[in-house]
């Protein structure tokens, strides 16, 4: 079953309502779907298409553009090792080799037990803390090859399951706009005059 479950459908509707056009909610909803199932299935995309009122091909068109959406099962933990300049200068290639050796898979592969997927990633915006990696988008800074070994051992021993949620769960805190406080989506055709508070712009 890979359609969104009832709780997630309710959440999806809350998210859709924030946008002037339902399709804008597509990326957040794809994340929600990936959180529920670990990856994006065809059935899930068909369901999202129903929810936002587009075709499932359009959903796939959007989803397939973005690196983070997986269309096949991946490990419970996805390790992304950065290989862009700052990390490369600080030895990230060695980290990747160490991880490949330790896991017995090449970058892009998943271990036979389905626990860990290894990926070569591009810049993760932690360049001063190079070399860096992410496990399910949680950072590890100034990583040494010994750290890679220890990290993989810890993941295998289940020691990090509190800190790092399974692949698919991104933020553990969600925005909720209280009904009495929210303005609601402002549709592009809704307003044709200036908002009440606005008295024009300053001279150029």
């Amino acid at each position: 079953m890979s359609r969104l479950n009832d709780a997630n459908v309710a959440l999806a509707k809350e998210i859709i309502a924030r946008y002037p056009r339902p399709k804008s909610a597509l990326i957040p909803l794809l994340h929600l779907s990936q959180e529920q199932n670990g990856y994006i299935t065809n059935e899930a995309m068909a369901h999202l298409a129903e929810l936002v009122g587009v075709t499932s091909a359009e959903v796939y068109g959007t989803a397939s553009f973005y690196e983070m959406f997986k269309f096949e099962p991946v490990g419970k933990y996805v390790i992304n090792i950065c290989g862009t300049l700052s990390c490369a200068l600080m030895g990230s290639e060695e980290l990747l080799h160490r991880a490949e050796h330790k896991l017995g898979v090449k970058a892009g592969g998943t271990t036979a037990d389905g626990l860990i997927t290894l990926e070569h990633a591009e810049c993760q915006a932690a360049c001063t803390e190079a070399p860096c990696l992410q496990v399910n988008y949680r950072y590890r800074f100034r990583v040494t090859p010994a750290d890679v070994d220890a990290l993989i051992d810890d993941l295998r021993a289940g020691k990090l399951s509190d800190e790092i949620p399974a692949h698919g769960t991104l933020a553990k805190v969600r925005q909720h706009i209280p009904v009495d406080r929210g303005v609601g989506a402002v549709a592009p055709e809704a307003a044709t005059t200036a908002p009440a508070w606005f008295d024009g712009k300053a001279a150029l």
């Binding site: 300049l85 490369a88 200068l89 915006a125 402002v186 908002p195 300053a202």
Partner: protein, 474 residues
């Protein structure tokens, strides 16, 4: 002067990895010493939402004017003044939207994530002030997908801010209302380009739109006037509204006022993120200064540095005394981009270093423009061949030919006393919609121009047959 209250704050904090406060004025990082700087309680205790209070007590036009007087240069890369950008919306066309660019992913850049994780309320306050001043009816705060922690911090802060009446309906009891909606991406560098960001926010593939003729300020999100501002840019607004534009322009230089976040990474002793005085700090200060990076690791020699993120043409020790200031970096053949310096010492294999950047841009090409889609991949493959020792001198010619098809004419580069080269100023011409294509060529061009011997030593001689000569004019 700035909110330091007489205490010289130096050193680093476990909760803000990579950040060094130093003894300098701080505008956007003023709360970083507090471990709970992200909480509403701490924010309010340190002057938070005072800028918004002051703004709402004045007509929106005056608030816009104040920001314009402060000349807040955009911190995303292009350096366009925010106040001027707000003024480019067409008269009488509503609604207008605000899209916050938190898709930080330019190689070398590390500042917006820190601002979102450490001081999310400051950003939210900036969004609300901008919406008020520019007449924007709804705000979308787009955070890079891979930044799970920043998303959590901003979500929690938004929930607090809504409950306390700083965002949403009738803000602080006024007639001003605006929603700030947290949105997040899913991994695509090109989405940092503002029109691609808008496409992505509409639920589409993140491909840039053709501009000109229409910039987002005229035709943006859902075809309506849209202001796209960077996280750091907006994070400056609370301080400016609290302390006034005059206090802001008293810091920095006339053309580059205030402060600026800069990340220095690579082969330095103390890589870090620093809030520096805008316009006056030189690259030498940043790389060798005691309060900054303290020199090259292991006492090594500096070989080259990238002054403004992976897209920027490289500098060598010849350019160390140039200040971190847009027009001066531009005249010297590069740009400041997103405030990111990457330092390479004498041990660096220059062609291999260039390859990591070219591979990045080739990988991140959205595929819309042929010169970038095809050219980026060509550049990566040819360069890899050269790095692997399988290249020929014809390959070096081919790199330049492919690069010239992306960027016709003279490509900007730094001067070099060693090679007797004069600088070619920034920018370049381009055959693509956005900067991803040229950026794939930038590291190749810089490396080939400034360190030709490292390439020549690696390739074997072969007669070059230019592709343009085959089948042309026959």
């Amino acid at each position: 002067m700035v909110r330091r209250k007489g205490r010289a704050v130096t050193g680093t904090y476990a909760h803000a990895a990579g950040f060094y406060a130093g003894d300098r004025p701080r505008i956007v990082t003023s709360r970083f010493e507090h471990a709970d700087s992200y909480s509403l309680e701490r924010y309010l205790a340190t002057g938070g939402y005072q800028g918004l209070r002051k703004a709402l007590a004045r007509p929106s036009m005056e608030v816009h004017d104040e920001v314009k007087k402060a000349t807040v240069l955009g911190r995303g890369g292009a350096g366009f003044p925010a106040g001027t950008k707000w003024g480019l919306t067409p008269e009488g066309v509503f609604p207008r939207y605000l899209v916050v660019n938190g898709d930080e992913s330019e190689p070398g850049t590390y500042k917006d994530r820190l601002l979102m994780e450490r001081d999310p309320h400051q950003l939210i306050e900036g969004c609300v002030i901008a919406s008020y001043a520019a007449g924007l009816s709804q705000c979308f705060l787009y955070i890079r997908g891979e930044m799970a922690h920043a998303q959590e911090r901003v979500a929690a802060a938004l929930n607090e801010a809504y409950a306390a009446g700083y965002v949403g309906k009738n803000i602080l009891g006024s007639k001003f209302s605006v929603d700030v909606v947290l949105h997040w991406g899913a991994g695509a560098y090109v989405v940092g380009e503002e029109t691609a960001l808008i496409e992505s926010l509409e639920g589409n593939r993140g491909m840039p739109r053709l501009k000109p003729p229409f910039f987002p300020a005229a035709i943006g999100l859902y075809g309506k006037p849209t202001i796209v501002n960077n996280v750091e840019t907006l994070s400056n607004l609370p301080w400016i509204l609290t302390n006034g534009a005059e206090a802001y322009t008293a810091i920095g230089t006339a053309t580059s006022p205030g402060t600026r976040m800069v990340a220095v990474s690579g082969h330095v002793k103390r890589p870090g993120v620093y809030e520096i005085i805008n316009g006056t700090t030189t690259f030498r200060d940043l790389i060798y200064g005691d309060e900054f990076c303290q020199g090259i690791r292991n006492g090594n020699e500096l070989k080259a540095f990238v002054p403004g993120g992976g897209s920027a043409p490289w500098f060598t020790p010849d350019q160390l005394d140039i200040p971190f200031e847009g027009p001066q970096a531009g005249a010297a053949g590069s740009m400041l981009g997103s405030g990111a310096i990457m330092v390479m010492d004498q041990t660096t294999d220059i062609p291999a270093a260039a390859l990591t950047l070219t591979r990045f841009y080739a990988h991140e090409s959205c595929g819309k423009c042929t010169p970038c889609r095809e050219g980026g991949t060509w550049l990566e493959r040819i360069l890899r061949r050269v790095v692997d020792g399988k290249g020929t001198d014809a390959d070096l010619q081919q790199l330049i030919e492919v690069g010239t098809s992306i960027c016709p004419g003279d490509f900007p580069h730094a001067s070099s006393a060693r090679l007797g080269l004069a600088a070619v100023p920034f920018p370049y011409k381009m055959t693509t919609i956005c900067f991803v294509g040229p950026s794939a060529y930038t590291p190749v061009h810089s490396a080939l121009t400034l360190f030709p011997e490292e390439f020549e030593a690696r390739v074997t001689k072969r007669t070059h047959i230019p592709v343009t000569a085959v089948g042309v004019g026959e």
